[in-house]
């Protein structure tokens, strides 16, 4: 006979800790897949797997990170099954003096600082275009940026969820953000919100 009170307790705990993150998991799934239907499937599969594995979850720890881990694993398996080639990302070793490789000076900010030091051009870019730019990032970068900048997860959680060292998370964030910043900047230039600066063109040429 089923242990009804035990299952009720499990369900109550699951409701409180896991179900509370359904919107966040959905948004994450949508950014991973870029497709609302696939995101729906991913969320359902994530929660069914989470329910089955709930006994392995330590109550009160980071449920959102745990759910993101499951969601990403489900997504990657779907991609592999579909024989689709996931974008591979060149993971250059970070320079010893830098947290994530590349120059510490952001050429985009240097270019923008004089004319728009408060970054008002960001307000001119609608959500749809920001999301489209995020979706165009390689998967590893996109995952790191979404987990950190959208969901506010600490580096350690992102590292655990993606199975890489914290240093690699920093590197992915650095490169992902720079790509995203460049995409948004290019968009703002195209729309006439900011003027293109020679310094950035020179920086890009080197």
């Amino acid at each position: 006979m089923a242990d009804r009170p035990g299952k009720d307790m499990k369900r109550a705990a699951f409701e409180q800790e896991a179900m509370a993150h359904m919107d966040a998991v959905y948004r994450f799934a949508l950014r991973l897949s870029g497709d609302p239907d696939q995101a729906n499937d991913l969320v359902q599969e994530t929660y069914l797997r989470a329910w089955k594995a709930w006994d392995q979850y330590t109550a009160g720890t980071r449920a959102k990170s745990w759910l993101f881990t499951i969601c990403r694993n489900v997504f990657l398996r779907q991609v592999e099954r579909g024989n689709r080639h996931r974008a591979t990302v060149e993971e250059r070793a970070p320079r010893a003096s830098l947290s994530g490789g590349g120059s510490v000076i952001n050429p985009i900010w240097t270019s923008t600082a004089q004319k728009d030091p408060e970054g008002e051009f960001f307000d001119s870019i609608v959500d749809h275009d920001v999301l489209r730019a995020i979706d165009e990032l390689p998967e590893e970068y996109r995952t790191a940026v979404v987990m950190s900048d959208v969901e506010g997860l600490p580096y350690a959680d992102i590292a655990e969820a993606t199975g890489v060292p914290v240093g690699t998370v920093k590197s992915r964030l650095f490169r992902g953000r720079r790509q995203l910043q460049m995409a948004l900047y290019e968009f703002a230039v195209e729309m006439g919100y900011v003027g293109r600066r020679e310094e950035l063109e020179q920086e890009e040429a080197t």
Partner: protein
């Protein structure tokens, strides 16, 4: 180097964290990944260094914009209902 040029132009901070170190730690500072002491040093540098301050503001604005765009949208009600129904079935 650009940093040296900026420092000459705007002064920077004679004591404490320099421009390069502050810019290197900027993302970790905004991500809340620095310890209290390091965070305070970075904060102080950006407070007094007019050359670096725009980088802090622009990076902040970028993060805010990505966060607000990314946090929009929610899981469709029918998906939520489907998950709850599936869990009910699994629990019985």
């Amino acid at each position: 180097m650009i940093i040296d040029m900026l420092r000459r132009m705007f002064g920077g901070t004679p004591d404490g964290m320099d421009c390069e170190e502050s810019l290197r730690l900027l993302s970790e500072y905004l991500d809340g990944e620095l310890d209290t002491l390091e965070a305070a040093e970075v904060e102080e540098h950006f407070r007094v260094c007019s050359a670096c301050y725009p980088h802090l503001r622009l990076e902040e604005r970028f993060k805010e914009r990505v966060q607000s765009a990314g946090a929009s949208g929610s899981c469709p009600d029918e998906v939520k209902a489907g998950i709850r129904a599936a869990l009910e079935g699994a629990a019985d």
